[in-house]
């Protein structure tokens, strides 16, 4: 009896197709919500909430799909040299609507000609997920700072919210075997960005992430290190 789809190796294909199909519907849903919201001048709190939730599902599915490809060895980074500001801008643009809704003041400190080597689509998507979190938990301001540190390029996202809860601060984000902290949207987003950072390698160094509550704005601070 061949009832278990795994036994004929079709499961991965079915999984990928299903996720793809859900993403397609979700895209339509999201677009309809936007169009409806636009007709009502974006005043409806329920519609905004609906849009936010749909965007979140979309993000999670994208991450799931990438993680699945990593797991089945169908993934490798597409490393290119790219201006950092373009990566940061892409993340900000993805979250532009949310930032506008909450009236958040988004400040960026990044030199226009600062370059880095990375898979820019993957990194900007990961940053967008972290930024999404920051936008939800901050009060008024978010600061994005790009710098160089010990031979790494760092991109920090800082807010003026309440900071990360203790169980995140105690976790080793870069030990992807120890997954107690991976739950909820924040945890999943951090897990994703930490795996993606780790895939970036150069001259014996690997990328990683760090979180603490040392933000100069008084809230949480997320920091991505790219080799």
């Amino acid at each position: 009896m061949q009832t278990n789809p795994k036994s004929n190796g079709l499961f991965p294909t079915i999984l990928a197709s299903t996720v793809h199909d859900i993403k397609n519907s979700l895209g339509t849903l999201l677009e309809l919500v936007r169009q409806t919201a636009a007709k009502q001048d974006g005043q409806s709190a329920e519609l905004n909430q609906l849009e936010f939730e749909a965007a979140r599902i979309n993000h999670s599915l994208m991450q799931l799909l990438v993680m699945y490809k990593v797991d089945s060895q169908k993934f490798s980074l597409d490393i290119e040299e790219c201006p950092v500001i373009e990566i940061v801008d892409e993340a900000i643009h993805q979250q532009a609507r949310l930032a506008g809704l909450h009236n958040i003041d988004l400040q960026v400190d990044c030199a226009a000609d600062e370059m880095c080597y990375c898979d820019n689509a993957i990194i900007s998507n990961s940053l967008a997920a972290v930024l999404n979190n920051a936008l939800r938990y901050t009060h008024k301001t978010i600061l994005i700072v790009v710098a160089e540190e010990d031979g790494y390029l760092t991109i920090a996202i800082e807010d003026d919210g309440e900071g990360y809860p203790p169980h995140f601060l105690g976790a080793d984000l870069n030990d992807t075997a120890e997954l107690d902290w991976v739950s909820g949207n924040t945890g999943l987003g951090l897990y994703f960005v930490s795996v993606m950072a780790g895939l970036h390698k150069n001259a014996g160094k690997s990328g990683f992430v760090q979180i603490d509550n040392e933000s100069r704005l008084g809230g949480a601070r997320f920091k991505l290190f790219l080799p």
Partner: protein, 542 residues
Amino acid sequence: MSFSLAGKSILIVEDNPVFRKAMRDMLYSLQAVTVVEADNGIAAINAMSKSSFDIVLCDYNLGVGKNGQQVLEEARHRNLIDYRCVFVLISAEQTTSAVLGVMDSKPDEYLTKPFNAQQLMSRLTRNFARKEFMASIDKALAGGDLSKAIQLCDALLLSADKKMHLHLLKMRAELAISAGDFDKARQIYHEVLEHRELPWARLGLGVIDFQNNNIEQAIAGFQSLVADNPMLMECYDWLGKAYEALDQYNDVESVLQQALQLSPQSILRQKKLAEAADKNGNLETAEKAYKSVVKLGKHSVHRACSDFSGLAKLYAKTNAADEALKTLEEMRKEYANHPEAELRASTVEADVYKTLGNEELSQKALLKAVDICGRMGNKAPRDLQLEVVKTCFLSDEHDKAEEILYDLIHAHIDDEQFLNDLRRMQSGIGMDNHSEILIQKTKQALIATNNKGVALYKQGKFAEALALFEQAILTMPDNKTIIVNMLKIMIHDLKVNEFCEEKNQRIKALINKAKQIGVDQHKLGILQMEYAKLRQSQTAKA
């Protein structure tokens, strides 16, 4: 942001009306005026043949018919869009060329759904800035002026634009390879790799090894590269080419299998797999691959009648005569009044009817094949001519077979890969070494002609040398060595003797001929560069 879409003509290709409206609204909010919409691939191709677009926003998944990648391939293949057009491929998931099975045509940008106006705007701004920066080089390349492209690229490299520097270096190295200047290309790749281990630079070094005929070294490089970058599909293609150069078709087959497991949508790769597996006698793999080719070809600009005849031949080999005849029938429907298709069909039919014991129909098909082959002459693809030869031998039409063979060997005497195919065909029908004497004799004749021509050339007797080669080309049409030698002599002639328009025209015609018969780009590139320099100094004098 100062960038606006006013004055840009834009094509939206999207089957979902909700997304189509969303994109349209987005574009109007960015001051777009000219927006054309298409809801399927064929409508998109029609729109592009009618007018030219600055921007094409094309969804990958267009329901039935062509997908977005196939729209792009057809648009580029048929020159419906040029180097100024920004083609954005949109899809629901984060996609890369590997996932979409891209082999030879990448879009300018990938965009993941859903996206908003800011994202679209920043991507378009970036692409237009890049295109504008590279426009002079792209224009020179589109006009076939390699030497001008190199000059412009060197000038831009000096302008020290940090953002574009690496992009320019990559372009410069590729131009150097096209011009046969491997030292320059190698130097650039090493310089890049000193800063950062980048797959394209590593790949470039392998390509140089390959072109320099250091095939083993190229293979070693490509192998370690795919080990670290399993999704670098280009690298599998180069590996396949390298194994092919060594006549190791088992390795060609396994490398293509590997690539297709990761990226099954590429019709060109499936074709190569089918051919390799066929050569190796792995009929099951070949059949499966040919079936995929026929299926993928349905909406692809890369489809060909040989896809059908390839599948039909396989059915014939596995004694599935009915399937073979059915496939040929389908092929005739798809390719009505197409001499090559008719030739392919008749050749396979002759074979199939023979195995069915129907001598009369077999003979009829063979006569038809020989007739079309004779009428097409050199225009009939050489693999197909080999097929006809084979069928002639099997049907005891030896005279006809030898006649075609004679021409084939003379035309392709300096193509060892083809000669190997020929030998394989003869071994396959129990005629080992049948043409060896003719091959050796033809080779010697070519060498003799070459030596004589080169000797005349060294004595400064250019006209005599050229006349000799002109004579030789009558008996060895499309011979690459002779064409290249003629070009060398004519260019040298320009160096020492005076310019005249007639010589220029002749050189241009020879360069075109060389391109046509498939002289390696880098071999031709060296001559093109030399010629361009001569012309420049000539115009400077005038």
